[in-house]
Symmetry: C2
Subunit: 97 residues, 2 copies
């Protein structure tokens, strides 16, 4: 599925709730989801299915936040990262820092 299409699906599912919650509340929720991803990464034994769900939540909430801010996540991603490193302009990246 295209990034744009996923964002559109999230808009259909959640835009009213996201919009009511607002930017700050939705951003805070994204932060919580990133923390949960971090907790899952530290789990032993490693649970790949549970980890996948945490990755899903992060991209879902990032899409929700982009919807509220009227940012096209796919366009933004490809404007910056489009088959070359935005810093060194090489593919693969050859940044030296």
């Amino acid at each position: 599925m295209e990034i744009h299409e996923f964002q559109k699906m999230m808009r259909h599912l959640y835009f009213q709730r996201d919009s009511d919650r607002g930017v700050e509340g939705t951003y805070n929720w994204l932060v919580d989801e990133v923390e949960e991803l971090g907790e899952e990464l530290r789990m032993t034994p490693f649970d790949k299915e549970a980890l996948g769900k945490e990755f899903a939540d992060v991209i879902a909430w990032l899409s929700s936040l982009a919807n509220i801010m009227e940012i096209d996540l796919e366009k933004a991603a490809l404007d910056k990262y489009n088959h070359k490193c935005p810093k060194c302009k090489k593919s693969p990246c050859q940044c030296t820092f």
Copy 2:
């Protein structure tokens, strides 16, 4: 571009560096990018182009982390969010909490 394709592009650009940096370092960088997104959201006046770049960085680092963990971000996202809310199973979401 498909989520899977974007992740693959990030793998081509950054996998060696991501892999050398490791899970913890890459996760910490993702957290930094989420914080930068938060800072940009609070900026006045609102700068949509700068904001787009911060969204781009978050999805880029999320993809890098998924690459290291061998998680298919698109599959994970669609396994959990596939045209209905994973909690109430409705579209749009009708969760009452």
